[in-house]
């Protein structure tokens, strides 16, 4: 028998919260969005600033991981070169489902100012993207807002439904 004398029935209820499976799973998913460190260029600096103490991503549950196998969201921060394209695909494939992608900054969105032979004109040519953040580079506030929007998007998804894996094709 427990030694404590907590009265479970006070306030007319047990310490039980009733919710739906969808809500509780999505609550867990959306508040522990572990991000894959993917700083490819100067946007990576803003991404690091978002993770550091001033903007403090940890309070959203967003912790940067160095391995795609531990990550839920890939923040593509910077210019993707054609030489690197196969690696972003490989890292994306190594992430476990469900997974999300934030395309951060003009270069990742559209190729940006690098209208050249060596730059991929938008990472959505390689992997499916959930969120595009405008800016060159976007401020940490933009990335914070983006993560909050992504959380909102995750909350609106059906958690239990047999999810179709996201594929570009």
């Amino acid at each position: 028998m427990a030694q404590h004398k907590v009265n479970y029935t006070q306030n007319a209820g047990l310490p039980v919260a009733l919710t739906t499976i969808d809500k509780v799973v999505n609550w867990g998913r959306s508040n522990s969005l572990w991000a894959l460190t993917y700083g490819l260029a100067c946007c990576g600096i803003e991404m690091m600033a978002s993770g550091a103490s001033r903007y403090d991503f940890d309070r959203y549950g967003t912790i940067f991981r160095a391995s795609p196998r531990q990550a839920d969201v890939m923040v593509v921060a910077g210019t993707l070169t054609k030489k690197h394209a196969e690696f972003i695909k490989r890292l994306y494939d190594q992430m476990t489902e469900p997974r999300w992608v934030i395309s951060m900054g003009s270069c990742a969105n559209t190729g940006g100012m690098f209208n050249t032979y060596a730059t991929v004109q938008g990472v959505d040519r390689i992997i499916p993207v959930d969120l595009y953040l405008p800016g060159c580079a976007p401020r940490p506030e933009t990335l914070q807002y983006g993560v909050m929007l992504l959380q909102k998007k995750i909350r609106s998804e059906k958690a239990i439904k047999n999810q179709k894996a996201k594929r570009l094709m």
Binding site: K83, E86, T110, G111, Y117, Q121, I126, L168
Partner: protein, 268 residues
């Protein structure tokens, strides 16, 4: 190289710039005007054939035969104190005379002088590697091959340095389009998904500033967002900044825009 078009209306179109504008030459001085350079040139001339030599912007430029490049650089390094190869690469003159110009920029810390050794090679000719003399030439020669396709004899690792190994084409040639040839434009799609995916993924959109406000699949109007695929009529209702859905979020306080405060004093 693209066809030359007359530029008689340059004044009428001040925004127009000629990509292949050739800058007027800086005045050249005789090598005899500088004692150190004159001595260096005499030492080179004693062993090798010198085609042309002059001083330009306080640096001596020496044209030699391409086959002598290793010998001349060895002489400069071992006997004339030019101990550093600051830079080397090629210049594309294929349109002019089907030749590449190879330059070696040498620095002498002792003499406080710079010499540029230049030579011409034909399009399919190779140059001798100077990697045994200067380690800095290792990557420079690889880059020269990568960007211009100039092959280098006796190089220990003659592979591309910047572009992928399976790349086709040499991007710094003047005939190479800035946005890439067909191989470059489809490189990542071909490599990852295969050629049959070209139709599905589609060609690159090179106008990165393109915004189509009637395309709700790809674009959203800030503050007037609509669900994907909605037909845009022009009078979309204003959508307030919402971090959370209407019903609130489990265990998280609802953000109230009315109650939020904008901090203007940074030092509060």
């Amino acid at each position: 190289m693209r066809a030359y078009t007359p530029k008689d209306d340059v004044q009428a179109k001040p925004y127009y710039t000629d990509r292949f504008y050739v800058a007027p030459q800086v005045p050249k001085q005789d090598v005899e005007s500088d004692e150190l350079f004159a001595a260096d040139l005499a030492a080179i001339k004693a062993k090798f054939e010198v085609l042309e030599a002059y001083i330009q912007v306080e640096q001596m430029v020496v044209y030699i035969n391409a086959k002598d490049n290793y010998g001349v650089l060895e002489l400069l390094r071992d006997e004339l104190e030019y101990t550093q190869l600051s830079e080397m690469s090629a210049i594309d003159w294929l349109a002019k005379n089907n030749q590449f110009e190879i330059f070696y920029q040498m620095l002498s810390m002792g003499k406080r002088k710079r010499i540029r050794i230049k030579c011409f090679i034909d399009k399919d000719e190779a140059v001798n590697s100077v990697e045994k003399l200067f380690r800095s030439a290792d990557w420079s020669e690889r880059e020269m091959y990568d960007m211009f396709g100039v092959k280098v004899n006796n190089h220990p690792f003659m592979k591309r340095i910047l572009m992928p190994y399976d790349w086709e084409g040499f991007p710094l040639l003047k005939t190479y389009p800035l946005e890439g040839d067909e191989f470059a434009q489809w490189y990542e799609v071909d490599k990852i998904y295969g050629k049959e995916a070209r139709d599905i993924i589609g060609a690159e959109i090179r106008d990165t500033a393109r915004v189509d406000r009637y395309d709700s699949e790809r674009f959203g109007r800030l503050g007037h967002e609509v669900p994907k695929g909605t037909k845009i009529t022009g009078n979309e209702p204003k959508t307030p900044l919402a971090y959370q859905e209407e019903g609130g979020v489990f265990m998280i306080d609802r953000f109230d825009e009315e109650k939020s405060v904008i901090i203007t004093d940074r030092d509060r």
